[in-house]
């Protein structure tokens, strides 16, 4: 019997956008407000899991062609890489820097290297969470 998931799929289409926006908000906001790479990554993973639940694994995999194991590895590499950059500049490992720039649209904006580090964290969390759930769901 083929199930009819119209409502679920319709809601998901809207909800995923909201969740992804919220998770990006959480992630970007982490420097000054509650949030950050970990929460942001987990809520992104939640959005992806929701997609899997409502549309099925095959269909999502067709549209998001991404190996989440690699994503996790890339996240760790980014985190280590920011640390190494500091070494290249002659500072101790993982020294973070920040400054304020006047950007065209955003105005006076603070850009911090910690954000890149946090990106690494987020990618690692997304990759791992999705990877675990996918592995378990494929175990039949």
């Amino acid at each position: 019997m083929k199930q009819n998931d119209v409502i679920l799929q319709s809601v998901t289409r809207v909800a995923v956008v909201i969740i992804l926006t919220f998770s990006i908000y959480l992630f970007m906001n982490g420097h000054h407000h509650p949030g950050g790479g970990f929460i942001g990554g987990l809520s992104t993973a939640a959005a992806i899991v929701l997609l899997y639940l409502s549309f099925g694994i095959e269909k999502v995999r067709e549209n998001i062609r991404m190996d989440f194991k690699k994503l996790a590895a890339i996240g760790v590499l980014i985190a280590v890489g920011t640390g190494m950059t500091a070494v290249v500049f002659g500072k101790p490992f993982l020294t973070q820097a920040f400054d304020y720039f006047n950007l065209p649209i955003f105005g006076e904006t603070e850009l911090a290297s910690a954000l890149i580090f946090d990106t690494g964290v987020a990618l690692a969390v997304i990759g791992t969470a999705v990877n675990i759930i996918l592995s378990i769901s494929e175990d039949r």
């Binding site: 420097h31 760790v76 640390g83 175990d139």
Partner: protein, 803 residues
């Protein structure tokens, strides 16, 4: 002078090139011929020391090995070392010569044999010339190891392996004891050098560790020298090739313990404990060895027990000689100095005659294929030269003139007679036992010597009992025992040459406090008619009678119950030790994780609670605590309820859900305590873990799905309450013990330092970003782990299906 080191280490160096010689030249020349050069050159080199050492000189060379720890390889040449060195190299040369003809060039792995033998020789040489205690110990263990290798030379035989293992266990056990004793000595006198120990004698003798150190060192000496009751390894070591038995178990290794006792006499001698243990154990060993030798039918064990007995004789003489240290220079001291002299003399004699006797046994074995005296007999006419050598060695062992054993046995009788009259150390009461035991043991010695010679060579010749055509041994095999037999006779006629040049300096080394002039060392074969001579006559008379009547009592003696032998006790002890430790291990290593957790928790509670109580660490201080408001109290009550639900839940779903509730409650706590980041994370993570738990629950095996309550166990309840109590007490005590201000004030200026208003995030990514970096690595590894575990399993499952 580097040459001494060169000669001591020559065997080791040469051992390195033996495999090459064996590989490339063995087809043409027996490897033994090359090896023979080593002991010969050492012998010649050591002979050059004799004149100087005889005139009282000593030589010392130091090679710094670990200077920062004060460990050197100090070689010290004095009379005692030289005596042993000459024995080792001399008998070594003869044994190698003998082995060239004994060991087949074609059938045997000669390179192994000669490497082990050279290793052993080098270790023995290093041992007797060592002045440094730790170097001494090193060489000592090397002799144990190399003799282990030599005994198990024919490793495909079970009995060889067992004999080797037994000797290894016993000698290494003693070696460790000796090491402990050495360390105590080093602690007492603060020096590693034996000579400096002797110089600091008064410090050592007044020290409380004096007796423990002595007992430990004696343990080492007794195990190595096969004294009672550690003698059991020596007969089993007879599984070695005969040249090895001849070398190790008559001339060298078993004398290492004798050497140790002689070396330590200046330090420990003069104490009643030393005297009683050394001479008492020695004389018991003498009796035990001679009695047990009578019961043997195999020639090699017979000689092994006779070795044990003779070593006991030497040991008891050393014990008696240590009384000279007590008396000091003077008339009584001189009397006992003679005992030490007799010990050294008999040591030399024993090496000569026992070496030759072993070689004779080897020849008989080699030519007839039998070693059991019940099959042998009448070989006198077939092998006249061998018979002559055996007769010389046997009569010398029995203590008859005109052989050197007679001289040292007379001196032995004189010493035991003297000691019974010494009147110190409680000798008045039981001192008379010494001459009696010695005399009885000598009678037995005489009887087994007669059995050895006459049962093998006398009587009727039975060629049908032997599986080979018997003829005289080749001349090469006879040279070495002939040389030794010649020495036996020569020493009898010219004992004073040996005495003056070799034994007298050795005696000075053993008893340095006796000035040379205080004793007169003339060995003479004829003292006139005295007690000793009468005792010897009695030995011959009674021994002869006993031998005549041997058919009446010998079979009875041989029926000695096996269950009473020391060997039996050792084997049973070893077996039961194995059984006992296996059952002990099986009892607590149950394989059940619950038990191991119990051990861990009990240990945890005992250690922490114990140390808290021990150091009076339990102190509660609630003055700094914040007020408890209604939200806190309500949440705590809810948490306790859900925790109890987890414990008492009737099925697993309830437990999982209650656990989830607990997690959400914790996140509520984070909200109340103003930790928004933690609350967010906790919420999401709790959700994920609950989902995973449900997943696990769903996949539980369907076979045993009966949902039952957790069975109740008192121990678990007690342990878990104890753990909870410990942690609570620890937490509360720690809270009341704030020693310094927390460093949170530093993180408060995170905006200035890291440009972040969120302190938590600033700490995570900036101040302590290293932790975060590793945590995401942990996460990734966990993810990959899940992936790999599942993939591997499903892949294997597919393979199973394919099959």
């Amino acid at each position: 002078m580097i040459t001494l080191y060169l000669f001591i280490f020559l065997p080791f160096i040469f051992a390195c090139i033996v495999p090459l010689l064996y590989k490339y030249l063995n087809r043409q020349v027996h490897t033994g011929w090359f090896v023979l050069v080593v002991p010969l050159s050492i012998l010649i080199y050591l002979l050059t020391f004799i004149p100087a050492v005889a005139s009282g000189e000593t030589f010392e060379y130091t090679f710094s090995w670990i200077p920062s720890l004060g460990i050197h390889i100090t070689s010290y040449v004095d009379g005692l070392g030289l005596l042993f060195g000459l024995l080792i190299s001399g008998v070594g040369a003869l044994v190698i010569l003998y082995s060239i003809f004994y060991m087949s060039k074609v059938r045997e792995a000669l390179h192994n044999f000669y490497i082990y033998l050279l290793m052993f020789m080098g270790a023995m040489l290093g041992l007797v010339f060592s002045d440094h205690l730790l170097a001494f110990y090193g060489f000592w263990e090397l002799t144990s190891v190399s003799s282990f290798l030599l005994i198990s030379y024919w490793y495909e035989r079970k009995s060889s392996r067992q004999g080797a293992m037994k000797s290894m266990l016993i000698t290494v056990f003693g070696g460790f004891g000796m090491l402990a004793g050495f360390i105590m000595l080093i602690m007492m006198a603060d020096t590693y050098s034996i000579r400096e120990l002797i110089a600091n004698m008064d410090v050592i003798q007044g020290h409380s560790l004096f007796i423990p150190a002595m007992l430990c060192i004696l343990l080492g000496a007794f195990t190595k020298s096969a004294q009672f009751p550690f003698s059991i390894w020596l007969p089993d070591a007879m599984e070695a090739p005969t040249p090895v038995s001849s070398y190790l178990h008559s001339a060298t290794m078993v004398k290492a313990g004798i050497y140790l006792v002689a070396r330590m006499t200046p330090i420990f001698g003069g104490s009643p404990v030393w005297f009683w243990i050394v001479s008492g154990v020695g004389i018991i060993t003498l009796l035990y060895g001679s009695l047990t030798a009578l019961r043997q039918t195999d020639l090699k064990p017979l000689l092994a027990y006779s070795t044990i007995s003779q070593l006991g004789l030497i040991m008891s003489l050393l014990g008696i000689g240590s009384l000279a240290v007590y008396f000091g220079p003077g008339e009584s001291g001189t009397v006992f100095t003679v005992a030490t002299f007799a010990a050294l003399f008999h040591l030399f004699n024993h090496s000569t005659f026992k070496g030759s006797l072993f070689m004779v046994v080897g020849i008989i074995d080699h030519e007839t294929g039998r070693r059991d005296i019940r099959y042998l007999g009448g070989l006198m006419h077939v092998m006249p030269i061998t018979f002559t050598i055996a007769l010389v060695g046997g009569l010398s062992m029995a203590g008859l003139p005109p052989f050197n054993g007679f001289l040292s046995k007379e001196m032995f009788f004189a010493a035991v007679l003297d000691v019974s009259k010494a009147g110190i150390f409680g000798l008045n009461s039981i001192g008379a036992l010494f001459p009696v035991i010695a005399w009885v043991a000598s009678i037995f010695t005489f009887v087994y010597c007669m059995i050895f010679v006459l049962k093998t060579f006398g009587g009727k010749y039975h060629p049908e009992r032997l599986n080979r055509k018997v003829h005289e041994a080749p001349i090469g095999m006879l040279i070495a025992p002939m040389v030794l037999g010649l020495l036996v006779v020569l020493v009898f006629f010219f004992p004073n040459v040996l005495g003056k040049y070799i034994l007298a300096p050795a005696l000075t080394a053993v008893l340095p406090m006796m000035t040379v002039s205080s004793y007169d060392l003339k060995i003479s074969a004829w003292h006139g008619i005295n007690y000793e001579l009468l005792m010897t006559l009695g030995v011959i008379l009674l021994g002869g009678l006993l031998y005549m009547a041997k058919k009446r009592w010998l079979p009875t003696a041989r029926k000695f119950p096996q269950g009473w032998t020391l060997n039996h006790f050792f084997n049973e002890g070893l077996l039961s030790a194995e059984r006992w430790s296996a059952s002990l291990t099986n009892r607590y290593m149950t394989g059940s994780l619950r038990h191991y957790l119990l051990y861990i928790f009990v240990f945890f509670v005992l250690l922490l609670l114990g140390s808290l109580l021990w150091f009076h660490g339990i102190r509660f201080d609630f003055s700094d605590n914040a007020m408890i408001n209604i939200f806190d109290a309500g949440l705590v009550i809810c948490m306790v309820i859900s925790a109890l639900t987890v414990l008492l839940a009737a099925n697993r779903i309830v437990a999982i859900v209650a656990l989830g509730a607990l997690g959400y409650m914790v996140s509520m706590f984070f909200v109340i305590f103003r930790a928004p980041d933690l609350a967010l994370t906790q919420m999401v993570v709790e959700t994920v873990t609950t989902v995973l738990f449900l997943l696990c629950f769903y996949h539980l095996p369907k076979l045993k799905r009966t949902i039952e309550r957790i069975s109740f166990k008192w121990t678990n309840l007690v342990v878990s309450i104890a753990v909870g109590l410990t942690v609570t007490v620890l937490g509360l005590s720690a809270n009341g013990h704030k020693l310094f201000e927390p460093i949170t004030s530093f993180f408060e200026n995170s905006y200035k330092l890291a440009g972040a208003k969120n302190i938590v995030n600033a700490i995570l990514v900036d101040f302590r970003g290293f932790d975060t970096m590793l945590e995401i690595s942990v996460l990734t590894i966990a993810g990959l782990g899940v992936y790999v575990l599942i993939r591997q399993r499903s892949k294997r499952g597919k393979e199973h299906e394919a099959e």
